[in-house]
Chain length 329, copies 2
């Protein structure tokens, strides 16, 4: 099934079920007030939502209305955890190569992951607000999963059952703040502002055969200012699958329901597939010609991130964000 959260002026919005083709929505408040509540009690509530979803798809739902992604918040407008991996290790290697840094061999075996901020997750049409264009504003197109409760010590073999939902995310990065921040040794902080999310989150069965071995075997299509810049296949070159990423998070702690775990920028070794973040393009330019030519995003720039099934149907709806300065106060 497909679930979304609609803006209603509140912090957590209104949970709705969305039809498979993303055309219709139906309020689900009679079943659960918000998505977090569903994740808190998945086995009891999800079947009820799924019944509504079937009814909606069959055109029999009594109070269906058009689904407008412009009114969507993030599926979880605020979450208790956002942990982002760098599962496409060839991307990590490339970026490091561009700045002349060796990549430790261990990066192929031990997932790289950072703890992100989850107190404000952006809806698919919310602006990317940034105080300065000089910060090096970049998008990062990713796939993410949402888990239920994962007990400490859960291994890869048992982690798959904890994946309740999938969605797309735009892990916005402020590239020019990263070097100084990583040099301090404590990881990203100011360099990772609020993350954008796709209009709907979907259960794994919605992906059919494309969801296999903890990976989504479909291209992730990225447009920057209406120009297609990337369509790498998210199922290829993913060194760590989502089960491995979940096991990594759960090694020393319980992972509680509603945790969002990201893949990191999708990236294929086949460079003809383009890029999911500008940093990758710039790294390739550095390696080829010694200098990065492509600039980062400017105010007014747009990024569109979407994934289609093999019949060209949008699975999650599109993230479509514009970069903007802070509103005057």
């Amino acid at each position: 099934m497909k679930l979304a959260t609609l803006k209603d002026g509140s912090r957590d919005g209104q949970l709705v079920v969305v039809s498979r083709d993303l055309s219709l929505a139906h309020h689900a408040a009679g079943i659960a007030p918000r998505l977090q509540a569903v994740l808190d009690d998945w086995s009891f509530l999800a079947p009820q939502l799924d019944d509504l979803y079937q009814t909606l798809n069959e055109g029999r739902a009594r109070h269906a209305f058009p689904f407008d992604p412009r009114l969507a918040m993030a599926p979880l407008p605020r979450a208790y955890q956002w942990a982002d991996g760098s599962a496409y290790v060839n991307h990590v290697e490339l970026v490091r190569k561009a700045r002349g840094a060796e990549m430790p061999e261990s990066f192929w075996k031990d997932p790289l992951m950072y703890q992100g901020a989850s107190d404000e997750l952006l809806g698919p049409r919310d602006d990317i607000v940034c105080p300065s264009e000089e910060f090096g504003i970049d998008f990062e197109a990713e796939v993410a999963v949402v888990t239920d409760d994962v007990p400490m010590g859960t291994k890869r073999a048992d982690a798959g059952a904890h994946i309740r939902l999938l969605m797309l995310v735009n892990d916005v990065s402020l590239r020019n703040l990263i070097p100084a921040e990583l040099a301090k040794g404590f990881g990203f902080f100011q360099s990772k502002p609020a993350t954008g999310c796709s209009p709907v989150a979907v259960t794994p069965d919605e992906l059919g055969g494309a969801w296999k071995d903890g990976k989504v075997h479909l291209p992730l299509v990225v447009h920057w200012n209406q120009v297609k810049v990337g369509e790498p296949n998210a199922g290829e070159d993913m060194t760590f699958d989502f089960m491995q990423l979940i096991a990594h998070v759960a090694k020393t702690r319980n992972v509680r329901a509603g945790s969002i775990i990201g893949s990191g920028t999708v990236s294929n070794l086949d460079r003809s597939r383009g890029y999911c973040c500008i940093a990758e393009k710039r790294s390739l330019e550095m390696i080829e010609s010694g200098s990065a030519i492509t600039p980062f995003m400017k105010y007014g720039d747009t990024v569109r991130i979407e994934m289609f099934d093999d019949q060209g149907r949008s699975l999650f709806g599109a993230i479509e964000q514009r970069v903007a300065p802070p509103a005057k106060r």
Copy 2:
């Protein structure tokens, strides 16, 4: 006022108001179901809670009952953000000196901060569960604030008004996992398991004159296995006050209500005040004798963290946690 969250089998517990002397509690469900809801709408709900608090302190509350910290969850059992600073820079300098690393001069001007996991925060008597004693289990006694909504770009001068609550935290660290994790460049992850919290969170006015310039000017008392090992004054040697820490978090993003921002391990230059984490003790040993003698915590070890006003009254109640292996499944 003083607020706590009592265990009731649910994920978020029951909000209660606690008397100033920590002896009595009163359910607050008629005002707000849980602490997050209060922080979401502070100016409307806090005065109502404060009325109840006054009534409770005056012995006129109709349904008061004994407050038992053993039944307390973390004030926010799950939070949307936990960002921890390292505001006692002399501690950072010491730890780095012990491992032969210079500390960049910028550390005195630009706060060091990491994003922590907040999907599970431990109550004051919850065990510190760790899969292995070999991970180098350490406590870190800290002060933390809880904010309401802090808009992006908020400066230090405006940040103080956003501090709604204060509490103590035990930022448990797995020291032997840290070197490899920091070497990867993305900061702490597995090395920072669930954080423990004091029984109550209190409004700044509860601290009277001890709350000044965004710092708590009182000793933080730490016992390890019933032996007092530290009582540094949290108001001394705090290079960055809480307003600066909040401004740091808000530089590139909105900070949403219920965000917890920590001071980092409290540490005084006056070494006679002892230590708030074992790593500091070990660093001193390294510098003095070339090797660290004091071991990290073992299963069964306890840590007690508490703060008293100048008349010896406990302000937040005590964090009192025991280290334990995971339960057999």
